[in-house]
Subunit: 134 residues, 2 copies
């Protein structure tokens, strides 16, 4: 088991389209998969304005996790992030982000709210399967 | 976007080896991938006794999520669970579970603590990509 350096964590998550965000909804913990993009050291995503996800992430401290675990469930890596989500309000920046950010995988409405997760805590581990592992 | 029935949720997650558990560690939300098995309507997993995951899940209300999102990040399904985790203490039941439950993908020690997540809340959605979707 290797502990990953910050640069390794960012490199790994930059190639994965989906992460999972952990928020609180109606006083219960909830994990939701979201499409995201890493840009200039922050996580950006598009979400549907007025959705429960928009409400739950509005200026909230969230968990964000990206991983790649082998299909047989043995070995892989996981990157864990904590930080605060805030909306991108600058019109020019928002327009430019809307043009590059992926649509949500589960989009039903227009996902025109652009949010930024500023990474406050970043950690990651990688497990390489060895012959000694069951 | 389809809302899944409870039976559909359980059927989908029974074929996936890894889910993600959402817990609180040092007052921060954290998401951790875990190998699990669905048995008789509950989620079971092996974790390392004395680990931070063991402490964080001990009789705690957690989020648990299993998904399969397409590699290009468009379409897929996600099942969301909330419930309380408790250790399996009955020696015979514990031994029988240890013989069928998968090892943790990131196991470094002996994962001899068997825990049960009793499903209190269960929901799921599936998104089938249509030609109209971007």
């Amino acid at each position: 088991v290797d502990t990953l350096r910050a640069e390794e964590c960012l490199e790994l998550i930059s190639h994965v389209p989906v992460g999972r965000v952990g928020v609180t909804m109606r006083a219960l913990p909830v994990i939701i998969p979201v499409n995201f993009q890493l840009l200039a050291g922050s996580i950006y995503a598009r979400i549907v304005e007025g959705s429960s996800l928009a409400a739950a992430t509005s200026n909230a401290v969230v968990a964000f996790e990206v991983d790649s675990v082998e299909a047989d469930g043995k070995g892989g890596w996981s990157v864990s992030i904590q930080g605060t989500v805030s909306p991108v309000t600058d019109p020019a920046q928002r327009a430019s982000l809307l043009s590059v950010l992926p649509e949500p995988w589960d989009a039903v409405g227009d996902a025109n709210l652009v949010v930024r997760l500023e990474i406050a805590v970043l950690s990651g581990t990688r497990v390489t399967r060895s012959s000694g592992q069951q």
